[in-house]
Structure formats: structure tokens, C-alpha cells
Symmetry: C2
Subunit: 311 residues, 2 copies
């Protein structure tokens, strides 16, 4: 099994597409299984540009139902149908998504023949989900529309198997060793019970990613993102336009950086950048964020990050 | 007034976007007023790439409600709202579009503050419309879903005013001459009635464009497109895949060329090309079409055509 985890940024802009930034979408990819975070208009094209097969997307998770995070979904789904997808796909999104899907089906006749499941999440409650190789927790953020932030915690990996110690304990080569490595106690033929801790080192912790957009700065994000390796956070505005952030339900780069600092994350990626930001504006945004939290970066369309497991 | 008419091809592909071709959309532009033909996902980005301000789109005309022709509409409209559009916008589309718009408004809260009118067209009837500088006729095509083909006829331009003849007839300089040039008879002070034909040459005919997609080859298209300068026609498949054309409700390049020939158009643009067509496939498509109708061309994303008035 491939032990890499990647984040592929597809669209990093806000509200409207620009020549530089597409609308919000990113993929967490592990072992050929992708989780698509939001699905702004143009996501299927961005996947093509990034060289990621849409067939590998196993889960879609939407933060909220504003158009810039949602309008790529109909095209994504109908294209998958067109390509005669066979792999299952599960969509998680705040309540309201079912009406949207019903409308889509009614107007366009879209009726998936691949296994498709839709899960509506109440956007005023916290909760948890379990994907293939990730545990997910989510919390309501503070936006103009019901919006959920998500924390992805990769499952821990069993620690190193101590073969030398196993020999000393007389554990036979075979299934007993596998079971021990997978955290299970085994009884040997002589009646001794061997606990996994006796031959397996501490588990290797999974990677952690938080996706918090769109939102004003809020305590829920700090709780959700606490200790994450990567925090992807709404940073629509620079200080110059900070008076626009609160009424529109967004954050400035500085506010995102404060959240990153308070949540003690490793790296912050500034996300959902206003299309008004030119290169100079971006540099300003980054510099403002770094004045508060040095490990700040700007997410760019089609950038990929490979995450190490936390130390 | 600018007397140019342009067709800007935005997205020329079929069903799913490729790195080369976006989903169907084109603009007829005259005198800073645009008519958007279909609105596939990514149209607002294509407009940006083509350097066409979306604010100049005055009319949107949809052929049918399949996703590849429709899914750019929600983003286009909500972006216009975001940009605080003030110019009016009218959307014409087959019946069903109102439910789609209602759903859009309900889910995303989209509620235009600019003058927005929606006109549902029964897709099983022929009819006519009158836009700013164009007369439009439409007819049901032969697709898998109710679909309309459109013919755009630019208004004729008054013929040249014969100033010498006007002098001979003693027509004073002033409003009388304008009225005559605009096709109105005038009475001079001496009681003589002057008819426009006496001082104005024959009107200069308007340009003609037919947009017929998606469709199997059908008589309605021949009727609609008869004598058009430009016919934009479904040419999803080459001969190699012609068995797929009928069941999917599309045409081959050869079938499009037969229609162009029978309708006696000036130029055919092959449209809605399958994403399976690579460069060699395109050349094949063009060569097949030209074997029937030499004035065939392949529409490419972001190509623009400037139309002369017909001779």
C-alpha cells in the first residue's frame, strides 16, 4: 500500500473565477482514493489539468451550498455517469443538498447507475464520519449560510514489529505475528498470552488536515483544527479590506493566521482568495499572515503538497 | 454605431470538457451587445479568456436542458449578481428552465437585483423572437431531449442615400433626409410626396447565422438554416462512430455537411465535437465534411469569426 498522502489544490479563488484562480476545490488523495473538498464550477476540468482521474474520487465533502462551492457538482456527476463509472461515490453536504440533487435529476434526467449515496449533514451540529482511511470530525463554522468545517485524521499505522523480540518470545513465523502487528493479542501453543505491546512499537500517528471555509474567525475552527498539520482556512481579504470580511462572513489573512496560531497547527494555507488580489495583493496577504504565523503559505491552483506523518 | 458582427466560439466540445475543448457556448456580438448561445460549465471562465465582458451579454439562448449546455448558467448568473450588474438580461430556453431557476434560487438564495427576464419556449413548436438588432426564428430539432435550433437574421441596414438625386428633387437638408433614409415617405413644403425608394438604394441585407445543436440530421434544420452565411451544426462523430450518432441523438460530420449542402449555406462550422477526437480525428472529421461540403470548418475554442454582410 502506498503510504503517501497528498493535498491537491484545484481551485483556490473566491466567489467568481479569474484567469489565475478557479473556484474552490481540493483533493485529499491517499492510496488511489480521493476525497474531494468542495466542487466549484470547473472542478472536472481542474482535475483533468491536475492529471487526477475523477474515477478515483470516492468521497465528496461540501462545506456549504453557496454556488462557488457547489456549481461544479452537476457536471462532475453527469460526466461520471457518461463515463459509465462503476466505483461507488458518497456525497456529504449540509442539509439542502438533497433538494438540489432532486432538481438536478428532474431537469436533466440524471440518474446514476453507479453506487451513489447522498448524506445530508445538519449544518448546526458537530459530528463525525468514518471514511476508508480517515476519521473525520466536523463543526459548524460562522458564515452567512450554514457551513461546516472538517478535520481529517488519517488512521494510525501500526508501529514497527520487533522481530528480534518476537524470536526471543518464541512467537512462530506466520499469522500470529500479523495479528499482533494489527493490535491483537494471541495465545501461543504453550498457553502464553502475548500482548501486541510486547512486540510492536507505538503506533505511527496519522496525518491531520483541517478544511475551514467559508468562515469568520471563530472558536469552532480553533477546536476543530487544534494541532493539525495543515489548516486550509478562508483568507478572502487583506487588512486593506478587512471591513468587508465580517459582513460577508469571511476572514482576513491575519485572522486566518490568528486561528492557525491559536490552534497550534503546523502550516496554514490561505484559501478562498478574492479575485481582486493581484500579485502584489497576494504578497501583502502572505506578509500579513506571516507577521502573525510564520508558517503561512498561499494555496495556488494545481499546487500539490505531500504530507509527512507527524513526528 | 459599429457595424461588425462577430461570432466568438467559447466551448466547442460535447458532453464532457477536455483539455482542448470546453462545453458548448458561443457569443454573437454586435455593437457591444452579446447573445450567448448555450452556457456549458466553464462559460464564465471562457468569456474571461476571450476578453469578453459578461456585462455585454444581453440575451442568453439555450438550445436544450442537457447539463453540458446548461451547467454554466448558475455560475454565470450568480457572478453577475456578485458584480452588481445593472444591465438587463433575458434568458430564452425550452420549458423546464423555470423549474431549474426556481431550484437555483431556493438552494443558493440567488435573487437577481438586475432586470432579469426568463422566457420559456415550448420546444415542440416553431416560433420567432425579436432581439435588439436581430430577428430570430426557432424550430424543434431532433435530439433525445426537447431541443431548439435558432436562426439569427440581423436587421437590414438602409441603403446608401443618393445625395445628388436628393438635391435634384429639392429635398432640404435636415430631418426629411433622415426620415427618407430610414424608409419613411415625406411630404415637402410644395406638397410633393417623396418615397424613400426615390433617394435610397436597396437595403443592405443583414447577416445570418444558424445554430443547430444537438440534433440528428433533420428537415427542420435545413428549413431553418436555408441560405445562412454561417451554420453551426452538431458534428459529434466521424464516420468511424456513425452508428453511435442516431441512438445518442447526434450527427456525424458528413451528416452536418449534407445539411449544409441542402440548406445552401455559405459556411459550415462543425460543432459539439466528441472529446474522443484527437488531432488526427479532427482532421478526419474535417476531411469527411469537406468531401460533401467544401466550405466546412472546425469550430475551435476561443476562435472568433468576423462576418461580412452578405453580397
Amino acid at each position: 500500500m502506498n503510504d503517501q498522502v497528498y493535498i491537491h489544490f484545484l481551485g483556490t479563488g473566491a466567489s467568481v473565477p479569474s484567469l489565475k484562480r478557479g473556484l474552490p476545490a481540493a483533493v485529499i488523495m491517499k492510496d488511489q482514493t480521493g476525497i474531494l473538498l468542495d466542487c466549484g464550477e470547473g472542478t472536472q476540468l481542474k482535475l483533468l489539468q491536475a492529471g487526477i482521474s475523477a474515477a478515483k474520487i470516492r468521497y465528496i465533502v461540501l462545506s456549504h451550498l453557496h454556488g462557488d462551492h457547489l456549481f461544479g457538482l452537476p457536471g462532475f456527476l453527469t460526466s461520471q455517469q457518461m463515463f459509465q463509472r462503476i466505483h461507488p461515490l458518497t456525497l456529504y453536504a449540509p442539509v439542502g443538498i438533497r433538494s438540489f440533487m432532486d432538481c438536478l435529476m428532474q431537469i436533466t434526467g440524471f440518474n446514476p447507475t453507479f453506487p451513489f449515496e447522498l448524506v445530508e449533514l445538519p449544518a448546526d451540529e458537530s459530528g463525525s464520519l468514518n471514511f476508508n482511511q480517515f476519521d473525520i470530525s466536523y463543526r459548524p463554522l460562522d458564515h452567512k449560510s450554514p457551513c461546516l468545517g472538517y478535520h481529517f485524521k488519517e488512521h494510525n499505522k501500526p508501529g514497527k514489529f520487533d522481530a528480534e523480540r518476537a524470536e526471543q518470545l518464541g512467537i512462530p513465523h506466520g499469522p500470529e505475528r500479523s495479528r499482533l502487528h494489527n493490535g491483537e493479542a494471541v495465545e501461543l501453543e504453550d498457553g502464553r498470552i502475548i500482548e501486541p505491546e510486547q512486540v510492536v512499537e507505538s503506533p505511527i500517528p496519522g496525518r491531520t488536515i483541517s478544511y475551514c471555509t467559508d468562515t469568520r474567525p471563530c472558536d469552532a475552527t480553533v477546536e476543530l483544527a487544534r494541532g493539525s498539520q495543515i489548516l486550509i482556512h478562508d483568507a478572502t481579504f487583506t487588512e486593506m479590506h478587512k471591513d468587508r470580511a465580517f459582513p460577508t462572513g469571511h476572514s482576513t489573512a491575519v485572522q486566518a493566521a490568528m486561528i492557525a496560531k491559536n490552534a497550534n497547527v503546523e502550516k496554514l494555507y490561505l484559501w478562498h482568495l478574492s479575485m481582486r488580489l493581484d500579485k502584489q495583493g497576494e504578497e501583502q496577504s502572505l506578509s500579513e499572515a506571516r507577521s502573525v504565523f510564520p508558517e503561512s503559505f498561499i494555496a495556488q491552483d494545481l499546487d500539490s503538497i505531500c504530507l509527512n506523518r507527524p513526528q
